[in-house]
């Protein structure tokens, strides 16, 4: 069986794997996690008592109504935040795609990078200062971060779309606005919509936890009930979040399958 040549050892693979193991080992060593105590017998009974406190969830009608209104607020925050983000993203994507010269392009890209690098939750803490506690701060936070993400994606779509239809319209005497609306929008519109819907899906999940820093929605209720040690109520809120996430997943999967079937 000597006829089959042995594969040559891949040095990069071995080094890469070693580097990964070293990073993981260093991380656990640096964090010094108390996992040993965690799984000791006394900790396990404590843990059992803690988990037990979450069951059964509080299903009293008054609290369920509160959770339902929190869910509605979460959906509203995500929807309005995404709509605002789309508007801002369009205005930032035009210069970022190089339509107003190179300096404007660099400037717009810098703004977009900044907007999207600051996490939603950090924007939310800043917006709570600016707009006060409540869902409006959450709307602004989602809008700012999502504008950065969508602006970059929109600009890429613009740059990748063919320039001829718009140029043809301009040569026929159309104004810049109508040339854009009828020469570019039909090409990029569907893709922009797909990006926006995808971000909306992510924003629904995010809006559920923005309340931890006081920006409205389900998170506000969860944070409040947990800090009062009302575990049964917290468990209801967590189930609502899980339900929301599963619902969004299912709807988006159905929608995607429908789109694929239509194509």
């Amino acid at each position: 069986m000597d006829s089959i040549p042995r594969p040559r050892p891949c040095l990069t693979c071995v080094l890469g794997a070693l580097a990964c193991f070293a990073a993981v080992w260093a991380s656990f060593a640096w964090l010094d996690l108390p996992f040993g105590e965690l799984f000791a017998a006394s900790a396990l009974t404590d843990m059992g008592r803690f988990v037990g406190a979450f069951f059964p969830p509080d299903l009293s009608p008054a609290f369920l109504a509160k959770v339902a209104s929190g869910t509605l607020e979460t959906l509203a925050i995500s929807a309005i935040g995404t709509v605002l983000a789309v508007v801002a993203a369009v205005f930032l994507a035009l210069p970022a795609a190089g339509r107003f010269g190179l300096p404007a392009r660099a400037g717009a890209r810098l703004v977009l990078n900044f907007l999207r690098s600051v996490p939603e939750l950090v924007w939310a803490t800043l917006m709570v200062l600016l707009a006060g506690l409540g869902p409006f701060a959450g709307v602004l936070a989602l809008a700012l971060h999502t504008a950065g993400v969508l602006g970059r994606l929109f600009a890429e779509a613009l740059e990748n779309s063919p320039a001829e239809p718009e140029a043809a319209l301009r040569e026929l005497g159309a104004g810049p606005v109508s040339a854009f609306c009828y020469g570019v929008m039909p090409l990029v519109g569907a893709q922009w919509l797909a990006y926006a819907l995808y971000r909306w899906e992510m924003n629904i999940r995010m809006a559920a936890i923005l309340g931890f820093v006081g920006a409205g929605g389900l998170g506000t209720i969860l944070y409040y009930e947990l800090s009062l040690f009302h575990e049964a109520r917290a468990s209801t809120v967590i189930i609502a979040m899980l339900g929301l996430s599963v619902l969004v997943d299912t709807v988006s999967a159905l929608f995607r399958r429908g789109r694929l079937a239509a194509q």
């Binding site: 991380s27 404590d46 607020e73 309005i80 800043l126 200062l129 600016l130 707009a131 709307v139 931890f212």
Partner: protein
Amino acid sequence: MSVRSLRDPAALGRLGWSIVALVCLWPLLVIAQFRPGALFEAGNLDAMGHFLAGFWPPEVSGFFLQLLWTATLETLAMATAGIALALLLAVPLSLAVTRSLSAASLAGGRHSLVVSAVRAMLRLLLVVLRGVPELVWALVFVRVFGLGPAAGVLALGITYGGMLAKVFSEILESGDLRPARALMEAGSGRTGALLYGLLPGVSQELVSYTVYRWECAVRASVVMGFVGAGGLGQLMDQSMKMLNGGEAATILATFLVLVLGADALSAWLRRRLA
């Protein structure tokens, strides 16, 4: 040609849909307490103005930078340890829930009812693991393990374990099973068939997705501190509560470097893998 025929024939429909959208949006605006006026109220503007004015100069004292460095390392370590934990959870789970890897599928026999039931239960478990946001897990775990990175690592491990398991099983499901079947027919065991028949075809995709998730984990662990789970977020939370603009500015700059750095590293690694 009359002026009428030059009009956009679709304009009326678009106008109609825009009005319908606005009518649907209106109650949402009310629920979300959309009041742009609040931004320009004197009290709010003052608070924000003072805070922003403090942003310059950023805090660069040696003591603070020392704190910042420790917190940054803690954030990166949390993300890496979290992903390692997630992999530990995801590998067995993904192998268990992948239908096409079951003995019955590979041997071409019938699926037993018990095995299918167990698989459905595990799938349900995955939905719960990844359906609850990592920050919620962290908030709950902080109550058990106290303030610090342990809660963050466990939260990341659980949520990302669920996500990785789902995507791994999708990748395995879409892989080419013929080499594995051929190995089994030639008498190899199931483990051998998996390692030599299926994994070589899909390993790049698996590794690439794991690297992408690590990048997401860095972003997630940056904010874990807001619920007390250690890292840069905790430092940010303290500075914000004390309205210390200089410190907030330095931490924000660190966020930018960390997020963009993880972004670039992950993009480079995935390009090399592709």
